[in-house]
Point group: C2
Chain length 231, copies 2
């Protein structure tokens, strides 16, 4: 059985997993990048950017690079581990891009350039059909229009025993509500967003069987491991 | 000018400052004590209980004592500092007790026995008038029925330049919304409550001028310092 996990998912102190009003200039919503400051300062992230000329040139990622060091340590270990042993990803439409409604054409190919950092099949939940999109480096985006369960079973088939990683606030919430996520690694960022996409609101994670099992202080974020217990 | 602060205020990972359904057996709501596990393990707290025979005998506090050590360290430093240099407290009716509606008589004198740990005037916000209640050790409970501003100006007069500490989820939220709190020390407890009294919900602390300025990993909680900036 593939483990289904959420990893390096940054949350503000006031519980937001993304800022409001996402658009091309604000891929994680207004002030959303502040949630990920701890990521930008890791060696793993800086390598990812530096080894990808196209990402390096993109305005979105230029904000995240620079004289930040690229440290090793606890934050970096969590960042590196989040990509290890992942056989398939499931993400929401908003994590894939700022386009809303039907796809006008195939020009939007994600935020990450020709060679995205997934190197595995990525199942994108959307209400609007679109042909699969094969990118460089082993990443293929598949667009799933028939719901959560369908995406999960396709991801399981593709993952071939490796882990499945879920991304995007709305998609994570939906899978949590159905109890289909086994483990979450949240990174509490030292920031108050005040508005945006609330991760916890209206959801009783305790009742759904989730327990915080470990808290680890990183250099620039506090890492929390949450697991689902069986009754 | 007296600084107005919130201190050692425990919040769950999902943003609750107290559990639901407070009653005599659950002074901080159902599962609310889990928020304060880090407190019970400090030397300062264990001393507070051990030096007060009456609190030691009370069922509520018996749950919090025992073979827990009573450690020194970061958590204990925050616990000890929270009572230092405080000239007056303002708390909500629920923090004072489980009684609702008009006071039937004067029998309820708080959770803390004859000698409460405040040792200063405590202004209790309530809709129901009641005579001030002088306890042992310098604590006097004053019941304020004409609102937040009145409580704050009375507390300022009483504090005589020392700090004013605010307690209770609802009261803290009300003072935050009016921008009258200068500094908050929150202790993020490693627990998911799932339901209860939400501290942040529907409140844009960033817009209200609050910023997280420091995060310190304690032994059993993560301490966050939030300050109000002036525009």
């Amino acid at each position: 059985m593939s483990k289904v996990k959420v990893a390096i998912f940054s949350v503000s102190l006031d519980g937001f997993g993304a800022g409001p009003r996402q658009d091309l200039q604000n891929p994680i919503g207004v002030r959303g990048l502040e949630l990920h400051e701890w990521v930008f300062q890791t060696e793993t992230f800086q390598k990812m950017i530096n080894q990808n000329a196209e990402m390096r040139e993109m305005e979105t990622f230029q904000k995240m690079t620079g004289q930040r060091g690229g440290g090793r340590g606890i934050d970096n270990d969590f960042m590196a581990a989040s990509f290890e042993n992942v056989g398939a990803y499931i993400i929401g439409r908003n994590m894939f891009g700022p386009v809303r409604g039907p796809w006008k054409d195939d020009s939007w190919k994600g935020w990450w350039g020709a060679n995205p950092p997934f190197h595995a099949p990525v199942f994108v939940l959307t209400h609007h059909a679109r042909a699969s999109l094969e990118m460089e480096g082993g990443t293929t985006f598949h667009f799933i229009t028939n719901g959560l369960d369908s995406a999960l079973s396709e991801a399981k088939a593709a993952a071939n025993g490796k882990e499945i990683r879920i991304g995007g606030v709305s998609v994570i919430r939906q899978y949590l509500l159905t109890g289909q996520i086994d483990e979450l690694h949240l990174a509490m960022a030292p920031v108050l967003l005040g508005e945006g996409e609330a991760l916890f609101h209206g959801m009783n994670l305790h009742q759904l069987g989730y327990r915080a099992v470990k808290v680890v202080a990183g250099e620039n974020a506090t890492h929390v491991i949450i697991k689902r217990v069986d009754y």
